[in-house]
């Protein structure tokens, strides 16, 4: 099941060749930095992952860990400067998107890769009708007439379960509720039959019953259209129910990756373990929650060795000085010195195998 994710070695070791043909998207050693007044933020610092055609990948992490910036880099939606793509490559269907001109990129965006944003209110333009906004993409990419574009918009609204789409296309975003707007966003993302859908926190702003509707819908359309899905979220529950593989990010790095089962049931990285243990649930009633101490690393002042070291309950000798990376380690799907020998250090201490109690939630 974990075959979707291939640990990519550092680019120095492997020449930058296109990935195998069944890999839809492969991000290799991507580094995105922001140069701002207070210094440089290494928002994405050496991230690699890949998605095969039709597969689903979840990217999990807390706010500021760089999960959205990775997606925006793939879509080339960042302002350069202040952003800088310092290194890396983004292979999509065998071509490196980072070498594309803006013109070429425009043919990819919304057409081959489309994105569903978090805030359905702010991501829709309030002065255009829903129909105009959905058909804009099809008219541009598929060279349809305006009228045919509107037809297509109606069709995609119907696909996402909006009733009376003929009337809806003439409405403005403010005339719809939050759940409906998110459906319209999804319709927009689907209108050009993309090969990859990037959903950035698609349900975070929604209520739990509406979230259930939207997740069901995303699953359904992904199933029907065969598009690959990259789901960015902080909610482990959403991940467990929606995707096959997971990448866990912390402070701009991938700290652990694997199939949903591997990562959620037997987490290896102390951060993943801490995240799972801090979910409040029934089984933990009456006990203190096992929290991750401290706060998320300051992006201007990252620790020298492992970024997670100051918060890690298992930190030992090599952690303050040596920076673990996925790819350095064996097994290669966790960036932690507990699982591999650090340069110049002895073997890692034997820790009891610890499987956090993934208590069944509220019910």
């Amino acid at each position: 099941m974990s075959s979707v994710i291939t640990a990519t070695a550092a680019p120095a070791a492997a020449p930058n060749l296109p990935p195998p043909a069944d890999t839809l998207l492969e991000v290799r050693d991507l580094r995105t930095y922001f140069h701002v007044m207070d210094g440089t933020v290494r928002a994405v610092d050496g991230v690699s992952y890949s998605i095969k055609r039709g597969q689903t990948l979840g990217i999990v992490g807390e706010s500021g860990c760089g999960k959205s910036v990775t997606a925006l880099t793939v879509m080339r939606l960042l302002d350069i400067p202040p952003a800088e793509i310092a290194s890396g490559s983004v292979w999509f269907k065998g071509r490196d998107l980072l070498t594309y001109t803006d013109e070429q990129m425009r043919l990819v965006r919304g057409n081959e890769i489309s994105m569903i944003f978090q805030e359905p209110m702010t991501s829709l333009n309030p002065v255009y009708t829903i129909g105009d906004q959905i058909s804009e993409g099809v008219v541009l990419h598929q060279k349809l007439s305006k009228k045919a574009g509107l037809e297509k918009a109606i069709e995609s609204l119907r696909l996402v379960g909006i009733n009376n789409p003929e009337r809806r296309v003439k409405q403005y975003p403010h005339e719809m509720s939050g759940g409906m707007r998110q459906r319209a966003m999804i319709a927009m993302a689907l209108s050009c039959d993309p090969d990859l859908i990037i959903a950035d926190e698609p349900t975070t702003a929604l209520d739990v019953t509406i979230q259930a509707q939207i997740l069901e819908l995303i699953r359904k359309v992904q199933d029907e259209t065969g598009a690959a899905l990259m789901l960015i979220t902080h909610d482990l529950g959403v991940v467990a129910e929606t995707v096959q593989d997971v990448v866990v990010m912390y402070a701009g790095r991938v700290v652990e990756q694997g199939s949903v089962d591997e990562v959620l049931l037997a987490p290896k990285h102390p951060y993943t373990e801490g995240l799972i243990e801090s979910i409040p649930s029934k089984g933990k009633r009456g006990q203190r929650l096992n929290v991750i101490k401290g706060t998320v690393a300051n992006p201007f002042n990252l620790p020298k060795g492992c970024n997670f070291m100051p918060r890690c309950p298992y930190a030992f000798d090599p952690c303050p000085a040596h920076d673990p990376r996925i790819g350095d380690a064996s097994p290669p799907d966790v960036a932690c010195w507990l699982y591999t020998r650090a340069p110049g250090a002895g073997p890692p201490p034997k820790l009891r195998p610890r499987v956090p109690a993934l208590e069944v939630g509220p019910s």
């Binding site: 509406i210 902080h234 939630g361 509220p362 019910s363």
Partner: protein, 421 residues
């Protein structure tokens, strides 16, 4: 005191609180309407029925969880209860004293006993005040000859004590809110609320804006403080896992009405209101081994300016569909009534939800996960479990689909009052 150390402290409230069951807060038929003005001469056109006839009690030392979706009136209820805004009708008492009858000095004394922790740790702290002034502002307002809070040194000492209590350093007191992280700001908000030694604290979504790892730190802190200062919480949240973790009793709200109130274990293991069951089934489960039998509610929450007649949930109710749309749902408002010891439900057909069926519906059905396990999570199938043939189930599902059409449109056509995103 906030770190990962000492694991097993006495129960989050079970033992301590249950022992004494003195009623501290009693809310009786509380109503809060917001008038809508419009049209020619800006006449009153109607009301947004934010809180409509809500009754419950909170025992001393208990955590009462109030859960519901956005726009259901849970925050309005909290704010009205502590008189941050006038009520429309109804009564409430704090330790037997009428909350709404107080005036002048008495009201001021009452405010000291009821405090609130707000959701947004950024918006609720004045950026131009050092945190010593933010925390001390309530003390200054409540200063009298007895407590001497009017004196700077007395006040500062107390501010320092409460910074300690919430796990912040005393010497941070002259810093400004922007110098703190989100979790620390929430601690400041908590210190501000507690500095007046309140009896009841309204926690209005105190952890919703925080990251998971910070959220658990704040939950631990709130439970520690409750024990230390002998507090009673009205804990408002939309996150069902948080409510389950922290509460002793839970009230579920839908469109301004309390639809179900019960002890936390009873509510989560034996939910009786169809809305509660749907809500519980909608929570995504972080354990990939389990798959829920999910009830996907159709459509959106109707506008509280024009709530549906009869039972407010009837436009989205899956149980009503199963029962063949009985008329009583749309004509008569169901009263909150006792169905079992301490378990109150406002549904005409709560008895049709057999414990077994509800457990099956809201509980998780472990299935071996397989990548090709694309089996759609049954919409309404087999909820009452008794005598429902497969065909009927599909019919019910289709009927529900048809109903979506109606509600969807109705919801948005109501237009103006539609809840914001």
């Amino acid at each position: 005191m906030i770190d990962t150390s000492d694991q097993t402290l006495p129960a989050a409230g079970q033992g301590v609180a249950r022992a004494r069951s003195e009623v501290l807060v009693k809310v009786d038929g509380l109503v809060k309407y917001y008038p809508i003005f419009g049209g020619f001469l800006r006449r009153k056109m109607g009301d947004v029925k934010a809180v409509d006839d809500v009754t419950f009690t909170i025992n001393r030392g208990e955590v009462f969880g109030l859960v519901g979706e956005s726009g259901c009136g849970k925050s309005t209820l909290g704010r009205t209860l502590i008189r941050l805004q006038p009520r429309t009708a109804g009564a409430a008492t704090l330790a037997g004293e009428d909350i709404f009858a107080k005036k002048g000095k008495d009201l001021k004394r009452l405010r000291r006993r009821m405090q609130i922790i707000f959701q947004d740790p950024v918006g609720s702290l004045n950026p131009r005040m050092p945190i010593s002034d933010i925390i001390g502002e309530g003390l200054l307002a409540q200063a009298d000859d007895e407590n001497k809070w009017g004196k700077r040194d007395v006040r500062d000492a107390r501010v320092g004590d409460y910074l300690d209590a919430v796990g912040l350093r005393r010497d941070y007191s002259r810093r400004y809110p922007h110098e703190f992280s989100g979790g620390q700001r929430q601690r400041i908000g908590i210190a501000r609320a507690l500095a007046l030694s309140p009896e009841v604290v309204i926690c209005d979504e105190p952890v919703s804006a925080l990251d998971v790892s910070i959220q658990s730190q704040i939950l631990n802190l709130l439970l520690d403080l409750r024990r230390e200062f002998d507090l009673t919480y009205l804990f408002i949240a939309h996150n069902l896992s948080v409510i389950q973790y922290i509460s002793d009793s839970v009230g579920v709200m839908y469109l301004g009405k309390l639809v179900e109130v019960a002890d936390v274990d009873e509510l989560y293991s034996n939910p009786r209101h169809p809305y509660t069951i749907a809500l519980l089934s909608a929570v995504p489960e972080p354990d990939p081994r389990v798959r829920k039998r999910r009830i996907v509610l159709t459509g959106d929450v109707p506008s509280p300016a024009a709530p549906p007649s009869g039972c407010r949930f009837h436009t989205r109710c899956w149980l009503r569909e199963q029962l063949g749309r009985p008329e009583v749902c749309s004509t008569e408002v169901p009263e909150l009534r006792v169905v079992a010891g301490g378990h109150n439900v406002a549904c005409h057909f709560a008895e049709s939800v057999t414990p077994a069926a509800a457990v099956e519906a809201a509980h998780i059905i472990p299935t071996p996960i397989a990548s090709d396990d694309a089996e759609p999570i049954a919409a309404i199938g087999g909820l009452t479990g008794e005598g429902l043939e497969a065909a009927e189930v599909t019919e019910a599902a289709e009927a529900a689909q048809a109903e979506v059409a109606g509600t969807d449109d109705a919801g948005t056509d109501a237009g103006t009052g539609d809840r914001p995103a």
